[in-house]
Amino acid sequence: MNLFEQMAEATIKGDKEQCAALARVALDEGVDPVQAIQEGYTKGMHVVGDRFAVLECFLAEVMLSANAVSAAMEVLRPSLLERPGHGSQGTIILGTIQGDVHEIGKNIVKIMLQADGFTVHDLGYDVPVRRFVEQAEELGADIIGASSLLTTTMTYQPDLINLLGELGLRDKYRVMIGGAPVTAEWAAEIGADGYGENATKAVEVARSLMQEKRGGEVS
């Protein structure tokens, strides 16, 4: 089993110590950290994501694997910081929108995005529309992701898009929406750039939005 395969294996097992140890080996051997993430940890996380999609494993196992990848990322971070774009797939601001206290779905999306190499800033739940925009500006986000579990709160999602327009920032950010009552039709109606029916699809959408934003270039 080569180093990348070992990284994938440790990720699938949710073995935090082993993931971090393999990251140190990669650095010692001069392996490109981005390649380690993409060929090792992310591949392992994709296996976990595929298993979760058919419920061969559950959220707790996904979180264990995600935490293991985070431990590896901590080791790799200094090397990543030396690279343009820090080797990140993109930066995403994520939160459950104003008035809504439900966040399991949003948390799953966060885990899957992080595991895919995105830098995710989680604003938590009950996040005012204005805060999404302020945080996106402050943290230099590429994508804003707003989740909603309730029909009474999904009505804030268009407000987010309208506020970006009002502030002249609409073209600066891609907006993704999701949540139990949210549909592709709703996303189209309010002018969102992307809609993820579930966490796996949300990652695909985020990747495609970043590709589009970077003019077709993949990091």
Binding site: L55, F58, I104, T151, T152, T155, D159
Partner: protein
């Protein structure tokens, strides 16, 4: 006996824990307890008849609740209860709840496993989104169903032409509008005294909800509200504020629990255990008179898959055999109105729930997310199946055979279920009666179901 004030006191004095830690503990403890009690899901026993297993699920749910307690988000503290406190609350839990008045008065009573008394049928589009102009006809289509014991609300996408936003002044207006329109629909259905089990489903904030619960708006003294736990095993002060109001106003109140299979609760076995535990949370923190369960598949947002039907059946049986709690199941179908699949999904869930001792909250379809996808016909399909199963004395073994045959018809299509037709494509908007094509489709399905052993003759 635990009082409202004890709950408040413990929410201020319980152990401080980070929410993430509590989530982890739910996942770990549920898994350990499932091992401890040797609880195993059997895909061939979708409606199990193993009473030892049923009792183990109950004990596991009680142990889980005693070990974990519940998490209060506002204070970041865990509220714990003793076995004796839970047992006392169970002993004093209501055995009946009354809704409505006059000829529309209906009494929900505790059912047992394989009970021949029909299930109590709460008919509702479960907050399905609908255009403002079709709100009254849609909810009327549920209220007018002959087997509806109570009814409840759809979600009007606008009120006075404006979208409803949580926490805004228009949310208060919308909640009041909702209540007025529900009673208007009851009158249009020719059932002015029918109970409304959940008066407001278009407002999230407590101030808006409570503003609407007024006799002047058509609210009856025994109409009520749902109080929903936050998954898994969490409460917050917004919810407990409703308890404070309802325990003083005398309106009925019920607990609403939707653990996610695949989420922190884990697989079917541990989610069944977590679902049982939620009933103790509702009883103690919400003073719930009855309990409504809607466990959901984390990816498909329905509860008609094989695993979900098993966990619904086993958890309902566990509570029916070991308590006199009033347990209601809320079927969530993946398919939408006027499809054969929705008929089979609803009937499968209803049979599993009814023979297990549950009552019925009928019914969410099209995963409860697609606008205009809900009609009274789906409530009729569920209520008729529930009444028939009870009256013909259906056993769990027989229900298991039928449910498995129904699963053969739809389970491979769950992830790509047909959305079906809109309300205005299924019902004549002038008469608010189902169109012939839906009646014909249902008749065809009934013939197939009769062949499986559910006798519609």
């Amino acid at each position: 006996m635990i009082s409202f004030w004890d709950v408040i006191g413990r929410s201020e004095s319980g152990t401080l824990v980070k929410e993430e830690e509590f989530d982890w503990k739910v996942a770990q403890t549920a898994r350990e307890i499932v091992e401890r009690y040797d609880i195993r899901y059997d895909p061939e026993q979708v409606v199990p008849s193993d009473e030892d297993l049923v009792d183990r699920v109950y004990q596991a749910g009680l142990d889980l609740f005693l070990e974990l307690g519940m998490f209060c988000r506002d204070t970041g503290r865990v509220l714990k209860f003793t076995r004796k406190e839970v047992e006392q609350a169970l002993k004093h839990a209501p055995t009946t709840v009354t809704y409505g008045q006059g000829k529309d008065l209906a009494v929900m009573a505790c059912r047992s496993i394989e009970d021949t008394r029909p299930p109590f049928c709460l008919c509702t589009p479960v907050g399905a989104p609908v255009a403002e102009e079709r709100f009254v006809p849609m909810v009327q289509s549920f209220a007018q169903e002959p087997l509806a014991d109570t009814f409840s609300s759809a979600f009007s996408q606008t009120v006075h032409g404006r979208p409803i936003k949580s926490g805004t002044p228009q949310e208060v207006e919308a909640a009041i509008w909702n209540v007025i329109k529900l009673r208007e629909a009851a009158k249009a259905a020719g059932r002015p005294g029918i109970g409304i089990h959940n008066l407001v489903s278009n407002a999230e904030q407590t101030d808006a909800i409570l503003a609407a619960v007024q006799a002047d708006f058509g609210v009856l003294p025994n109409d009520g509200l749902a109080i929903a736990a936050i998954s898994e095993l969490k409460i917050d002060y917004e919810r407990v504020k409703k308890v404070a109001f309802l325990r003083n106003s005398g309106h009925n109140k019920y607990g609403l629990y939707g653990p996610l299979m695949g989420g922190y609760a884990g697989g079917p076995e541990s989610t069944a255990v977590v679902l049982v535990a939620h009933h103790f949370l509702g009883l103690l923190a919400f003073e719930a008179q009855w309990h409504c369960c809607f466990p959901l598949h984390i990816h498909h947002f329905c509860n008609t898959t094989r695993e979900l039907l098993w966990l619904i059946s086993i958890a309902t049986q566990a509570l029916s055999r070991n308590t006199h709690l009033l347990v209601t199941i809320s079927p969530f179908a993946a398919a939408g109105p006027c499809t054969e699949m929705v008929v089979y999904e609803i009937v499968a869930n209803v049979l599993a729930s009814t023979v297990s001792g549950g009552d019925l909250n009928l019914v969410a379809v099209a995963s409860n997310r697609h606008p205009e996808r809900a009609t009274g016909m789906e409530a009729r399909i569920g209520a008729e199946a529930g009444h028939l199963a009870a009256r013909q004395g259906m056993t769990r073994t027989h229900a298991n055979e039928i449910v498995k045959r129904l699963l053969d018809l739809y389970e491979s299509r769950i992830s790509d279920a047909p959305l079906g037709k809109r309300f205005d494509e299924c019902y004549d908007m002038e008469t608010v009666q189902p169109m012939q094509k839906y009646l014909d489709l249902y008749e065809g399905c009934k013939k197939k179901l009769s062949g499986f052993g559910l006798d519609y003759s």
